[in-house]
Amino acid sequence: MEHYRTHLLVCAGTGCVSCGAFKLKEALEKEVARQKLQDEVLVVTTGCNGFCERGPILMVHPDGVFYQRLKVEDVPYLVEEHLIKGRPVEKFMYVPPAKRTPVPKMADIEFFKHQRLIVLRNRGRIDPEKIEEYIAYDGYEAMAKALTAMTPAEIIAEVTAAGLRGRGGAGFPTGKKWALCQQAEATPKYLICNGDEGDPGAFMDRSVLEADPHAIIEGMVIGARAIGADKGFVYIRDEYPLAVKRMGIAIQQAKDYGLLGEDILGTGFSFDLEIVRGAGAFVSGEETALIASIEGQRAYPRQRPPYPAQHGLWGKPTVINNVETWANVPSIIRRGAAWFSGMGTMTSKGTKIFSLVGKINNTGLVEVPMGIHLRDIIYGIGGGIPGGRDFKAIQIGGPSGGCIPKELLDLPVDYESLAKAGAMMGSGGMIVMDEDTCMVDIALYFLRFTQEESCGKCAPCRIGTRQMAGILARIVAGEGSDEDLKRLEELALTVKQGSLCGLGQTAPNPVLSTLRYFRDEYQAHITDHSCPALVCKSLITYFIEPEKCVGCLLCLKNCPTKAISGELKKVHVIDQALCIKCGACFNVCPKKVRAVSKYTGAKGRALAGRAEQPVKP
């Protein structure tokens, strides 16, 4: 094998690819060749680094220098300075928010510094389309150990002792699930990897599938050996084409190497893996619905028990685990249960990947030890809230989760604490919200989502979510009443208790948690007909401040309904009767001018020339 003095690691996750990672790679290769460095420098593509907002990302190995937001035009200068003259280029480096000095090394950047990588251990350092690179970093070692030196009972005991719990959201102990399935008498048995990551705001499964597909395959072979399965399925969301492609390549390579398929490693153990593409239904992330989908049916959930571990795919015992859960297994077997359970809290062991998105400076994927405090994630890793705004809430767990307010920032992140606070681990989406986010609007957003995605099989979920969304829509329009809040709470309880599957049982959580922590915001919509966050269209008025407007015509030109009148260098005015409140004027008004304001409540109504609405008793 040839040796290169430097590796240029170009991140090729979906985020970076959309910002031009492949063009960057091409340009780097060209420039490296032009400078005749091709025998010393190798350009490689890797899986997602997680710092997606900074894409395209380039890591220089072994220097550890981290470059971000590179353009093709930057390449000649970068190659000349860093690779020929040995001077890392400061202007392409990451500068922390509100600071001026760039941070050259990846290991020193706050976003990466506090992370603890198990599942994402290979991120940014291996090419996911080359099995050799996975093997070079101890890949398939755990599988070899499990197949040659451990009995199925020992594997299950190890996973149980490690305290691994399902990373898909519910947190069921993985070892217990495997043991149930192993003890079931019926054969054949099946394994499923649940990669139907439907929670809006979560993308860790996509990233793991794209960045380290072999870790999932290895985990599944170990699981197959433990429960005695000879066939498995990797179910991947249709919206993730790159993940489907990379998993396909990985399965083929593993088969070519004798690490998957017939007689693995000559041990006589056989296990085959097949990819199933989802077809766009949120409910198919629920395990019994996913099984129906693999069987070629509509993704309708069914009553549990019996659990899939006893009665699953085609009625046979089936273990179904989430992508992240499977990817934890090789490290547990390789390094042992004691090492794994040394991280985390009493009840939640190991690490968890979160996607940190929304109103946050450092957006991206982070893997942190269980038990870390929310504050450390948001202000340490995430770098706080952009634009000098104030933190308001963090939404955890997607449509099944809840909003956690500022007062609970010191909450440790583990399954139990989150559930107690009215949220849930879910798949690990963390959406940060600032004072410009309306909590009633967020509750409505999630309820509309679950209502749309409800499969319709059971009445509490089908009808209940529709009624709840209807009430919320009324409140957001300023037409709600106190009675509505009571009804909302009653309905929430009915839907929670009466629904068949996890989708319905957790659908009310976004409403319940916002009612619990942000009731005053609901009240403001109902009694004052105002939206304190200035979001809900029916309750706000756009107004051009005459003393600030410089008459630049920008808002006038961008107004879709021609509601703005004015001339160059003369104050512009919004015709409130024509205004559709799209916010285009607000968005295009130059930052230095900021002449467009939003008002709500009595002042907003006065500016809009609307009569004061009688406050309902």
């Binding site: 959309s18 894409g55 929670d199 766009g280 989406g429 799209c582 285009a584 295009v588």
Partner: protein, 158 residues
């Protein structure tokens, strides 16, 4: 023009006429034919020896199946939570106004189809739109106008 039955037959044969492969079969047929007509669905049912009602139940349940012809250009606006808090709804409304169609519709000249999706898992790029397979992050009204202009210019040249 290739006739649709051939496409169905090819795909069904590729999956060894397995009934359980109905979903991947419909996906591949849709890739070949752009959309699923009632004739196509009947053909799939016949080939797999499944009730037509069952094939319809599956085709109407999953969102990735289109039972109407789609436009030449596909604009998809992400409505995930991260996109929502960063102004995704305004982006979608802008597309709706500019194209004169609602989300889920195709323009009368069959040039554009506008779709909303619940999350594309590229939340760091929020708000996000995908036009003809290309991801556009940090979308604004002005950016959307530029993209649509490029599509229109392409149309005039063609």
């Amino acid at each position: 023009m290739t006739s649709e039955p051939t496409a169905v037959e090819l795909v069904v044969a590729k999956y060894h006429r397995q009934k359980r492969a109905l979903i991947p079969i419909l996906q591949d047929v849709q890739d070949a034919c752009q959309w699923l007509s009632s004739e196509t669905l009947a053909e799939v049912a016949r080939e797999l020896d499944l009730p037509v009602a069952h094939v319809w139940s599956v085709a109407t349940f999953y969102k990735s199946f289109s039972l109407e012809p789609r436009g030449r250009h596909r604009c998809t606006v992400c409505m995930g939570t991260a996109c929502h808090v960063r102004g995704g709804a305004a982006v979608l409304e802008h597309f709706e106004r500019k194209l004169g169609i609602q989300a889920g519709e195709t323009s009368a000249d069959k040039e554009y189809t506008l779709e909303r999706v619940n999350c594309l898992g590229a939340c760091a790029l929020a708000p996000l739109a995908v036009v003809d397979g290309t991801y556009y992050g940090q979308m604004t009204e002005i950016k959307a106008d530029k993209i649509l202009e490029t599509l229109r210019d392409g149309k005039e040249e063609a």
